[in-house]
């Protein structure tokens, strides 16, 4: 029914997409499992990096070079449009990380601990 050799061959050709999916699942697992708040922020950053890798690698053209035009030389250039869109995305990811870290600092000042389950326990007993 499912030809495993065919699927494995196509996954081996699209290796960059497969690696970005693996990175995304690793970041998601870090964010769900650990209870330290800073590890959750790091997990979110790993998921962002996986999405950037996936998006930029859709623009590769076989035999192309980086899009810096040399006058007088005829070459095949890669697709510059996904790279230009991801530049904005990287800055947004850095801004969200900075804001999340400042929130973590204020939570630590108020509750005295960085453990998410401890914080939920403290919040359920205070009125």
């Amino acid at each position: 029914m499912i030809d495993f050799a065919d699927v494995a061959m196509r996954l081996f050709e699209n290796m960059y997409y497969l690696v970005s999916v693996i990175l995304f699942v690793i970041g998601f697992h870090t964010m769900l499992t650990h209870s330290n708040l800073i590890k959750k922020v790091i997990g979110m950053n790993i998921m962002d990096t996986a999405i950037f890798l996936f998006f930029v690698s859709t623009g590769y053209v076989q035999g192309g070079v980086a899009p810096i035009i040399e006058p007088g030389v005829e070459q095949a250039y890669i697709n510059p449009l996904p790279t230009a869109l991801i530049l904005t995305g990287i800055v947004v990811a850095v801004s969200v990380t900075a804001f999340a870290l400042s929130l973590v600092v204020k939570i630590y000042e108020h509750y005295g601990t960085l453990d998410a389950e401890e914080i939920m326990r403290i919040r359920s007993t205070e009125s």
Partner: protein
């Protein structure tokens, strides 16, 4: 118990994503759907219309400069949010 439910959930998500990746167009194909006439127009018209040799610089600062203005606003908002959170008494 929660760990087993988490692993089952992650396995379902990973299965859906890998099945999607196996159906995508080949990596590095010049006949990709993303290589339509828009990047060709940007590469051909970059030197005459903007004068910059770096095509990505001319895209983010001349053809699509409005998006860069929005992104400078996002940087500004991050600073305001972080300062307002940290300096509140």
């Amino acid at each position: 118990m929660r760990l087993i439910l988490t692993l089952i959930f992650l396995a379902m998500i990973a299965f859906v994503l890998v099945a999607t990746v196996a159906e995508m167009p080949t990596f590095g194909d010049p006949g990709n759907p993303t290589n339509n006439e828009v990047p060709q127009r940007y590469i051909e018209g970059a030197v005459e219309e903007t004068g910059a040799l770096n095509v990505i610089s001319s895209i983010i600062m001349d053809y699509r400069a409005f998006d860069t203005l929005g992104e400078a606003t996002v940087l500004f908002l991050a600073i305001i949010g972080a300062l307002a959170t940290l300096k509140a008494h």
